[in-house]
Symmetry: C2
Subunit: 653 residues, 2 copies
């Protein structure tokens, strides 16, 4: 087998891995276990078909509480000509489930009989009468569950490869089994490596990386039916890593070696695999994920496949989905589940490298009659892009992306039903939106929000990519908020301006305000480094308006060109010492333990096209805005005035 | 609270239960547990929102292996005017993930640099050069992951009520948590009662019922996030049951009392609930399931809800879905998952009692462009109807059913993707179909087969309810199989007749053939009880043809009117002693250890409309018919001749 230092196509990598597994006879079920038939068998995969050992019912059973009879004895009974049958040799009480007496071929339910005593009066105990009077003939086999009604002995009950559900366990028990043959769970060793890693629970110092890929991979393995073992962190040391891999290979079916798989300075994975077996693939043309390694170890007289998983968390998780999930499915004798898909329209143009299979995380929402897919951050380090993703769009190799509005096929992570109750908010960010999301969740709605600034939100509404936009745009002409902008961007749409709150804006400064910043004029001082918000954001418009009012020249502000996209990002820049101040909201300052210099009060509205405002989807949102608990929680945040919350202003075209 | 002896509507029952839970303050999350953040947190439900404690990254990090620089120092560099930067105070090597030095604001990836030694030659160790030459200026913050790129401290990462997936665990770790607050798992006691019950693993005697409802209920509870405890079987004894319920209520949140909930003779559940608390509901207008009990125990100073679960297995499992699943979801603070639905056309008229919500199990398949739903057995005792069900059709109270072909809404059990690769077979049964199902499963196809006899299968094809029909119909005129019937039932369709096998038909008799049955004439003997197949079945047609050929009078055959629907059911009738013989295939006789008297050989074909025969869906079926392993397994079954297997005869309209 050759070693490849440049990326090969995903299909080729899979084929090469496949061939090596086949050669090592590791391409089928690893082994059969006979486990007790109880609730712990749930979710296990049948390694053999289940054939019925006994029938169910395994005798003719009464289906009712009543009297077993011979149908022939009841012939002629009618409402006008009742027949009376004496209890005895050929009439007997049966409970539901009781075996039918040999001489009987029918059951009459107790409610269709008149139990009598010896004198012909109603019997005191209807279950032990002297005789019964009936007013209808019994059909043969009525109210009887014949032997084998449910399952006939020797029938196929369930095929091999079937994943056991609750009712399956009942059927397997009913046909005479007390154990169940299932595929042995594949044992997967997960080895985090890297001298910069610290375990979860250790406060990370600058440069430390919290090691959590092993938890994500272990949870994936568990979810897919395997048995994960998480090893402790191994530092970047070739000998130590080699020893660990050798140790893990002893009693595991698969080794996942995390990080150290790129071409960087301390990347030992490829060398370890070469030392202990065959390096099959090094580098795959899939994005994110490139530096994946596939190999086959030969140690302890066995073959053990190994996957070098990239270190970036999104790459790591996707490597799990692309390589580990299908392998585990094969070892369990089942097929990897096929995620449901949905056709949706892209909210923006998507450029993709033609040489790669590109896995793009998207959020989804149904805006009007159209499904829209909004691409999330492409960064391989941004794990929240996986957390927030409603699905994955795979841009296949050979394609350079899609135009905005193109219809694409998305594999769903989020169930369709949940997507159908998703409210899509695009626009300016405010911490109240997080609080709103909490309250909407209790009312069976999901809030999916993307932060692109106020103008970006209005553009999204115009393009019908969102149900609502958070907006705080001051019109320098009128001094009024939002109205002029909505008229400009949505001239033909009837729109509800729904006030969320009035909020303070001011300067976020380091704790103790060491640079003594008290107003906008201080921004022009030498030695004061500012961090700005992006063009089009309400905060930026507010700043520019105020600078103009005070005849201050933005060119003299150091850092005016450095743009951040959220209040919290501005606060983070100040907290890290990268800047001395930025304009933002007090909640952001408080969040990072910073000080705040209040300067302005602004109105933050939710802009909602009227058709959406009146939809059943958004109705719970208006309930929340008038919910006392929500209002109280919002008012408790620093700098918020909620008295106008929920006020609606309708703008007609 | 009153006691109700007659069924009340499902909605009313739910409301009454709801009100009692609210009164006992048992209508929210039961408690919060802080568990370690590892793979065991998978599938648990967040009891509190997760806010970021630290940012991720929590420092500015290099996104590449390369050199940290000040962007300003690189200005002007171009392909024609390269710049050389000395390593030192303001140029330094960084690995991916390393913190950016305080003075730096950009990283140049190593592949975009020329590392040089002191003489201006390529450096021997590119990571430790004397200087680097660059041919492009660096943009500020290029190849840097700024602090908070993924998560900004204080941000909402995940809302309460969220069910944890693998990537979520990574995001929670990344933002500084080492434990996770999840809803405590509800503890559910499952109490099987009934003197007729025997545990799994005990060979059941006549009248014994294998107790498996507790396993099904426990698996349901586990699947829905609860912690089940299965109690041993309690006999039908009021005192013992009362003691068990009291014991279970001590340390469980919910008690499921199985069986004993109807109005039968040994049905103690309602009395137990009345003794230990409030009987809220006794009998619900839902089918199957009627005798459900809902109650609230007051024992040990606590309130513990109790559900009396009916004894029939389908009723028990549906009671779980209707009452236990939503209750557990509420106690976990999540919403019960909404199953996806599908619109499909009913294959037959469906009558339903107007007073009940009727839960009808159906199989589904896509035949041509239409989805079709075939109702399964309605019997509450037929657990295979749940095993085989692809979904549930709820006929709401007030509706008396649907006409054949009506479009109905089905809640899916089987994922849509699996349904899309389902081949629907309706017609005559043969054990080879079970074997075929096994082999198709390995080729990514599901075989859904319903046994309605050969003629029924042709009718199903005509109505486009199936892709293929198993058929063995002798034409008495020509002595030929199937052709004449296909022409009669499908006159306008181009059809492929695909031979599955030639198989023996003969008389299935008790072991040792005690009645000395050797041919058809024996059927007319006094004391010989026959069991017949249903009208329209190929076996019945074969029998009638042979009787006519031999001038035998069917009226003289005892049992000629008693009809069974499958070969195995005929064999079961003989095995149970209910009949002395029946016409069928040798595999059925062998399956139940019976003897067989061969009489005829017949051809069993798969009848497939050409459009389906040539579809991608059915292609793997033809592969199986030519698969040596399949043919060998089929040939090994008694009475099968597979030499013609896979032979295709095209019939044109």
């Amino acid at each position: 087998m050759g070693v490849y230092l440049r990326d090969i196509p995903l299909d080729e990598a899979k084929q090469r891995f496949e061939a090596a597994l086949a050669e090592a006879r590791l391409n089928g079920v690893l082994g059969v276990e006979h486990i007790p038939l109880d609730e712990h068998a749930l979710g296990r995969v049948l390694a053999e078909p289940i054939w019925a050992r006994i029938s169910s019912p395994h005798y003719h059973a009464s289906a009712m509480d009543g009297f077993a009879v011979r149908a022939a004895d009841t012939e002629g009974a009618s409402p006008t000509a009742p027949r009376t049958l004496l209890l005895g040799d050929h009439v007997a009480w049966v409970d539901t489930g009781d075996p039918l007496p040999d001489w009987a071929d029918a059951v009459i339910a107790i409610e269709n009989t008149e139990p009598l005593d010896a004198q012909g009066n109603p019997a005191p105990d209807p279950r032990r009468p002297h005789a019964i009077r009936i007013r209808a003939a019994a059909r043969p086999w009525q109210a009887v569950r014949p032997m084998g009604e449910d399952i006939v002995a020797t029938e196929l009950v369930l095929p091999a490869g079937h994943t056991l559900r609750p009712a399956d366990l009942g059927a397997i028990a009913a046909c005479g089994h007390s154990t169940v043959p299932v595929a042995r769970k594949p044992r997967v060793a997960i080895l985090p490596t890297g001298s910069e890693l610290v375990p979860i629970g250790h406060a990370p110092k600058r440069g430390d990386i919290i090691e959590f890929n092993s938890v994500v991979l272990a949870a994936q393995v568990k979810q897919w039916g395997g048995e994960p073992t998480r090893f402790p962190i191994t530092p970047d040391d070739l000998e130590q890593i080699t020893a660990r891999v050798r140790e893990a290979a002893r009693d595991h079916d698969l080794v996942l070696l995390n990080a150290g798989s790129s071409a960087g300075s301390e990347d030992y994975s490829a060398r370890v695999v070469q030392q202990l077996g065959d390096l099959l693939v090094h580098g795959i043309a899939v994005r994110p994920g490139h530096p994946v390694i596939l190999g086959m170890l030969h140690v302890h007289g066995r073959h053990v496949p190994i996957i070098g998983v990239p270190g970036y968390p999104v790459s790591a998780a996707l490597t799990g989905e692309i390589f580990v999930q299908p392998l585990l499915a094969r070892w369990l004798g089942t097929s990897a589940p096929e995620p449901p898909t949905l056709k949706a329209h892209l909210t923006r143009k998507l450029a993709s490298p033609a040489g790669d299979d590109d896995y793009v995380r998207v959020t989804l929402g149904k805006v009007g009659e159209r499904w829209v897919a909004a691409p999330l951050s492409r960064g391989a380090g941004v794990i929240t892009s996986l957390v927030r993703a409603d699905g994955i769009l795979i841009v296949p190799r050979g394609l350079q992306g899609y135009e905005a509005d193109a219809e694409v096929n998305v594999q769903l992570y989020t169930p369709l039903a949940a997507l159908e109750r998703t409210i899509v908010a695009i626009g300016s960010h405010d911490v109240l939106l997080d609080l709103l999301a909490q309250h909407l969740a209790r009312r069976n709605r999901r809030l999916s929000s993307a932060n692109v600034g106020s103008i970006g939100g209005l553009v999204a509404l115009k393009q019908r990519h969102a149900h609502l936009a958070g907006c705080h745009l001051l019109d320098p002409e009128s001094g009024e908020y939002n109205v002029a902008y909505v008229r400009r961007y949505l001239p033909d749409t009837e729109v509800a301006l729904v006030t969320l709150a009035h909020r303070e804006q001011g300067l976020i400064v380091a704790r103790g305000n060491p640079k003594g910043i008290h107003g906008l004029t201080d921004l022009l001082r030498s030695g004061v480094r500012f961090v700005n918000r992006q063009r089009g954001s309400g905060t930026r418009i507010l700043l520019d308006y105020a600078l103009q009012q005070h005849n201050l020249d933005s060119a003299q502000i150091a850092g005016y060109d450095r743009e951040e996209y959220t209040h919290l990002a501005v606060a983070a820049a100040v907290a890290s010492g990268r800047a001395d101040c930025g304009l933002g909201i007090p909640a952001a300052a408080q969040a990072l333990g910073l000080d705040f210099v209040p300067l302005f009060q602004e109105r933050y509205d939710l802009v909602i096209p009227r058709a959406f405002a009146e939809s059943a989807l958004l109705a719970p949102l208006f309930d929340v805005l008038h919910d006392a608990a929500f209002r109280a929680q919002a008012a408790a945040l620093p700098g918020y005035d909620v008295r106008a919350m929920g006020t609606v202003q309708l703008l007609h075209p």
